[in-house]
């Protein structure tokens, strides 16, 4: 396989974008065909490049000019995250209608996200990730400028922080390559910088951040694409940090802090979900919930945790496509989507979360307490999901962009694919874990296509879940239909101190500078003085500078 093939997953969508633009300018809208070609082409290229050799392939195209070189590589981590990004994006681009301008921006966004995961260095990842973020914002604002979208500042700040971390590596270690940075260069501050970038890039906060806000938009075309392309990138950085640190974070405390934050993110989403006013609101919290669980397990620093996190992210990717295509009305698709989202046994989500919780208990050092909190969070999710089944549908998005059968198929697939958990783990997640957890932190999750072996137990995914699936099919087929009463339902509980914090926040927002001091910071008042061309100001400035240099 020639190393140039590494470019294929990036170039194919770009070619598609060029074709779409060219035809668009000629007043010919190629619609979904070119989009599908570009996105699925990228997926196919990733599969071909990785599966044909199953080892890292890289391409070095020389320096770019800002300190890092154009080094692209496809390794197990890049492959895994590449699929997590491209597959849901391809599903959405192939089905949902878009204008040629929207399609161009969306497909270029996919190319940028793939570049971010293929980049061999931190700065290039920051550049590509920043591009993906910019294009996502453009996409969202183009679709509906009044609808909620991620704060551009937060996204740009995150990618700037990452680029700073990259240049710190370059200045300190002479390289920012993921596989070349010396272990000693990953100091706690640099780690924190990358972690902050990761959290900001994916909006991993306990409060309601952009991944949940996007689902309240009138249309879910740009929202789905943005979540599909941007959300996994933050996790990608956290996974790569293991590669910098020879398989571990610089301090065990950092694992605990990040894992705890993960639980907080999942719990925050669960609390909002159990109080959702309608089903759309509930579904909006699903991806942040998955993200929280994934963060919790990825941050643990154990092979099983990392594997469980990757499986959670893959499931979240599938559900991103599902939720964006799901119509806002009750019925089987909604029911199955909710079941898949909450991790009904024996689905993929169920298996991944169980593995994740087990990894916390087996991580030692009392991290099992985090697992305990994770389990409690899952229970809130279960209650919230049960409540959501009967909630009003919520604001409906255009029928043209919904595909109930496809959404149902995707949701059902994530449940029925439960028995394949071990196969996913060994073929998809294990190689990625092996890629970043080498050397001193060597270790991997044993098992194969049938079982997932943890430290203390074995999960017989194939042999236990296949009969369970069969039983479920029979039982549900035999079961009578029960009418679900769609009704406004009270929240299971309200967060204690919620009113207090709301009042505090309102007070902070209402805080104003006392009248007599406003003129000091009133730019409109200062502007004429600064821009009025007064000789006194010039002389004063000159005097100040002279004074400064004589100190």
């Amino acid at each position: 396989m020639p190393s140039l093939a590494v470019l294929a997953p990036i170039v194919i969508p770009l070619v598609a974008a060029a074709v779409i633009t060219a035809f668009g300018l000629a007043r010919v809208d190629l619609g979904r065909i070119a989009c599908a070609f570009g996105a699925w082409g990228s997926v196919a290229a990733l599969l071909v490049v990785w599966l044909s050799v199953r080892s890292t392939q890289q391409l070095h195209l020389g320096p770019l000019g800002f300190g890092s070189s154009l080094l692209l590589r496809i390794d197990a981590v890049g492959f895994a995250f590449g699929l997590i990004v491209t597959v849901p994006a391809a599903v959405l681009l192939s089905l949902q209608p878009r204008t040629w301008q929207e399609a161009t921006v969306a497909i270029v966004g996919v190319a940028a996200a793939v570049t971010a995961v293929e980049a061999g260095g931190v700065v290039l990842t920051a550049l590509a990730g920043g591009t993906a973020a910019t294009l996502a914002v453009v996409q969202l604002d183009t679709e509906d400028v009044k609808a909620p979208r991620p704060s551009w500042g937060v996204l740009l700040g995150a990618w700037l922080a990452l680029s700073w971390a990259g240049v710190i590596f370059e200045v300190g270690a002479g390289t920012d390559g993921f596989s070349a940075v010396p272990v000693a260069s990953l100091t706690v501050p640099v780690f924190a910088l990358i972690a902050v970038a990761a959290l900001g890039a994916s909006g991993l906060f306990p409060w309601r951040s952009w991944p949940s806000q996007l689902w309240s938009r009138p249309s879910l075309r740009a929202a789905g694409m943005s979540v599909a392309t941007l959300y996994p990138l933050g996790f990608y950085l956290l996974v790569r940090e293991y590669e910098f640190g020879d398989g571990r974070y610089p301090q065990p405390a950092l694992n605990v802090v990040l894992a705890g934050l993960g639980v907080a993110v999942a719990l925050g989403a669960a609390i909002r979900a159990q109080g959702a006013a309608n089903r759309r609101e509930f579904l909006g919290e699903v991806i942040p919930g998955f993200g929280g669980f994934a963060l919790m397990t990825i941050a643990l620093g154990t092979p099983l945790g990392l594997v469980a996190g990757l499986l959670s992210l893959a499931t979240a990717g599938a559900l991103t496509a599902c939720l964006a295509l799901l119509p806002d009305r009750s019925g089987l698709p909604s029911l199955v989507a909710i079941a898949a989202a909450v991790g009904l046994p024996p689905g993929l989500a169920f298996g991944a979360r169980v593995l994740g919780l087990e990894s916390t208990f087996e991580a030692g050092n009392s991290i099992g307490l985090i697992g305990l909190a994770g389990a409690a969070t899952w229970v809130v999710w279960v209650a919230a999901a049960a409540r959501a089944v009967g909630l009003p549908a919520g604001r409906g998005h255009a029928v043209a962009e919904t595909f109930p059968r496809i959404a149902l198929a995707i949701a059902a697939a994530t449940i029925v694919a439960g028995p394949a958990l071990a196969a996913f783990q060994s073929s998809f997640a294990d190689p990625a874990q092996g890629e970043v957890m080498t050397g001193s932190a060597a270790g991997s999750v044993a098992g194969g296509l049938v079982t997932v072996e943890t430290v203390s137990t074995v999960l017989p995914a194939l042999t236990l879940f296949i009969p369970l699936v069969a039983m479920a099919v029979l039982v549900y087929a035999f079961a009578a239909t029960a009418p679900v009463r769609g009704q406004a339902r009270p929240a299971l509980f309200t967060m204690p101190g919620r009113e207090t914090s709301a009042r505090l926040w309102a007070a902070i927002r209402a805080a104003r500078l006392p009248e007599q001091y406003r003129s000091v910071v009133d730019l409109r008042a200062i502007e004429p003085a600064a821009a009025g061309g007064h000789a006194v100001l010039w002389l004063a400035a000159l005097a100040a500078l002279v004074f400064a240099v004589t100190r």
Partner: protein
């Protein structure tokens, strides 16, 4: 391949027959009929459900079966190393909320129920924090003096939670207040999983044999009987007692258990 097929057969047997669906129905049916007779005074076959089970009952069945095969029931075809307390706990968590999917009127006091379930999870998973093992029978076998306080406290907490989780408390849902109590198939499917899990986690298992079988089911039936008695007492004393117990008494006790778990995990480490 043969190994896979044999494992598939064994797991299927466990899920469908023992300690799976059939066992659940038999055990749960007996306990539920007893409960119905004692609590509501009915006892004839005509009271048994005639209609096909609802999707709620189907969901409860799937989850209870998954939890049941994780128990340390003697002769359980699922190998001991393939059982996990996390699997059991989470699967059972689904059974409590399934009915909420239909309408809020089928679930009494969802807020209190959620708190009770948190406490129950603490009772189930708390003892696993320090040993760092998730095999149910390993946890049942733990007799290290340093870990016994946590185990005993968790066992008590588990028992405190069960009446609420099995809904034998007097806080009945609004829907049931309108009509006479009927055979609750969802609850019937839950009896064995909850009580069997208690036996598994808090009673040291014995090697497979008739004695072990009698011992396991004896204790499990004992737990079920205790729940029936507690339920009857609560029923007589009225909802106030139950509400007071689950809002004022249990959370502080759960907090104590949590502190014990944290303290033990740090001290023993």
């Amino acid at each position: 391949m043969i190994q896979i097929l044999s494992a598939l057969g064994a797991d299927s047997l466990a899920l469908v027959v023992y300690p799976g669906l059939v066992s659940l129905l038999v055990f749960g049916g007996l306990v539920e009929i007893t409960w119905g007779r004692l609590a509501h005074g009915w006892w004839n076959l005509s009271e048994l459900p005639r209609r096909r089970p609802t999707p709620v009952a189907a969901t409860v069945a799937i989850c209870s079966v998954l939890a049941a095969v994780q128990t340390a029931a003697p002769y359980n075809p699922v190998p001991t190393e393939e059982r996990s307390v996390v699997l059991a706990a989470i699967a059972l968590a689904f059974t409590v909320w399934a009915e909420l999917a239909l309408t809020v009127e089928h679930v009494p006091e969802p807020g209190i129920l959620l708190v009770v379930e948190f406490c129950w999870l603490l009772a189930v998973l708390g003892p696993a924090v320090q040993p760092e093992s998730l095999r149910p029978q390993v946890l049942g076998n733990v007799l290290v003096p340093a870990l016994l306080p946590v185990k005993v406290a968790s066992g008590l907490l588990y028992l405190l939670c069960l009446p609420a989780l099995l809904r034998v408390w007097p806080l009945s849902p609004p829907a049931d207040r309108r009509s006479r109590q009927r055979f609750d198939i969802a609850r019937a499917l839950s009896w064995f999983s909850y009580c069997g899990l208690f036996t598994t986690l808090f009673v040291p298992p014995a090697p497979d044999g008739w004695e072990a079988l009698l011992r396991f089911f004896g204790i499990t039936f004992g737990v079920a009987a205790l729940m029936v008695v507690v339920g009857l007492v609560m029923d007589r004393r009225g909802p106030a007692l139950a509400r007071g117990l689950y809002t004022r008494a249990m959370p502080p006790f759960a907090l104590l258990v949590l502190l014990l778990v944290i303290g033990t995990s740090f001290i023993v480490r």
